[in-house]
Symmetry: C2
Subunit: 295 residues, 2 copies
DNA sequence: GCATATTTGTGCGTATGTATT
DNA sequence: TAATACATACGCACAAATATG
């Protein structure tokens, strides 16, 4: 029944799908916005089971519906908070049954691109693509490979320093102001929110480094670390003496900010590397990242 | 009707799912085999729409089924090529209806953890968790943010060199042998497979660096680059004079291998950085990564 | 070609949860 | 607080497509 999606413009093809329980008068005309042609072929290839040229993986209808909605979200045609039409309307628009539509919903929901609530004023709402989802899948792969948390820390210590070093050479006054504000927030806040402020400083120095890809990757690693350290996975393995560690971190952050202010890329890079090494010290015997996907 | 899923071992509960009219006596106690307590709470939080402490997102039955199967795969209880039982059997085991089971299948299929074929001897087959899926989602986020391909190349040039530098200090004889073999393969092969061999050299130097997380992240970036450059996205923007570039790459790879053999970490790191910079040169005006998720 | 096993897609009914009155 | 309307969640049964032998 995939042709209804691919060929929604042609009423004759869709009519053929209808018969079985009473002939339907015809499908609603195609939403002109549907991507067609070569793109669909690429989509099939991307989703194939690995062997591209081997077998033609017939994309299931639900995948096509999900792909359509996904693209609308990624292209910005649907933005955060937008409500999708009710199931009945979408069923008619796409020309699919309720189960098929719901399969597509579950896929998009698992990608955190929509969230579906029931009840009055319920339905599907759109969310902006979030790096945390990519982190979940990366974490799944790492878990499968038996990667240790120390390995994740080590990776971060390799990834971030060059980016932060770049910041020292490029930083604007606005950058410095934001960094000072973030540092102050971590300094004055109570111990509980200090961790959050400290994490924000980490995110900020990477983000201001200017490379979006590194920002996303570093965010993934931070997310994995957060999930495995939030006391959920390691029953007792909380960071020792969090207050001391927090104070140490603030001191380290201050020193790094000074290096950034001075525009000393090498010093910044080295200081950041050392800071990250300290944070990851003594983790060698920790268990592997786990349950990042939940359940 | 999620209790049957949680209680698949108990035959009485599956019977209980049948009565969908009438008051339920209450929730059955949790099964011993499933992760409970804090982990379950984390799972709900992870899948929530972003606000963790705010609302309790009730996990849908299909999500629970998918999570259960996903964990079996990640924990290695189900391995590559394993065939899942037919729908009818799984329906009974989990105590769910066909549509619900199919929703779970679509989710796992979108994660490339299973592939479902129909017909005799069809059904769901298990696949090992692959970094490419994480790459798809990361690519989706990058596309949403309007990231350029040059940015991805730049990120790779920041990520890989420290890892490859580490290889120079740790390399074993086996490592060197594998690297020499990979280099030779790229040298003697025909232009077409030379690209593949060159890519394998790239993968190998990172993998032998010894950090699994970096290996996964670098694999993601390589996958994104491959997808955007395979002529699918850029109609004409193929790498200029691929033969020359290939020869240049082989030369660069040889020099880097020599530095690794010499155990010179700094030189290796710097050579690799320069090599990656060259590969990413002149991309500033290229469009953003696109259609990595298909459709 | 034909029988068989298995997924795919559909229609409809009931249950449940949520906001509004 | 209680009733009500709305919208999704889940279930069952049937027909069709597809791959194997």
């Amino acid at each position: 029944m995939a042709m209804a999606l691919l060929n929604a413009a042609d009423p004759t093809t869709t009519a053929a799908t209808g018969e079985r329980a009473g002939p339907r008068p015809g499908w609603p005309e195609a939403p002109a916005s549907l991507p067609r042609g070569p793109v669909a072929a690429l989509s099939a290839g991307v989703f194939a089971d690995g062997r591209i040229g081997q077998q033609v993986r017939v994309p299931k209808t639900a995948e096509l519906v999900a792909a359509h909605l996904r693209r609308q979200i990624v292209r910005g045609e649907l933005v955060e908070g937008d409500a999708l039409p009710p199931e009945a309307v979408l069923m008619e628009q796409f020309g699919v049954s309720r189960p098929t539509l719901r399969e597509a919903f579950r896929v998009l929901e698992s990608e955190a691109l929509i969230s579906v609530r029931r009840g009055a004023h319920g339905g599907a709402r759109v969310h902006t693509p979030n790096g945390d989802v990519a982190a979940r899948y990366a974490g799944l792969v790492l878990e499968y490979r038996g990667t240790t948390l120390a390995d994740v820390y080590e990776a971060r210590a390799m990834l971030e320093p060059p980016c932060v070093g770049l910041l020292a050479t490029r930083r604007t006054d606005t950058d410095l102001a934001r960094l000072r504000a973030a540092l102050a927030a971590a300094d004055t806040a109570d111990p509980d929110s200090a961790r959050g402020a400290s994490a924000q400083f980490h995110a900020l120095v990477v983000e201001l480094g200017g490379n979006q890809t590194v920002t996303v990757l570093a965010g993934m690693l931070r997310h994995i670390i957060d999930l495995t350290q939030d006391g959920q996975i390691f029953g007792e393995g909380q960071p020792p003496a969090s207050d001391d560690l927090g104070a140490d971190s603030v001191r380290a952050h201050r020193r790094i900010l000074e290096a950034i202010e001075a525009g000393d890329a090498l010093a910044t890079e080295e200081l950041w590397r050392r800071h990250l090494d300290e944070l990851g010290a003594g983790l060698d015997e920790q268990p592997t990242p786990r349950d990042l996907m939940g359940g």
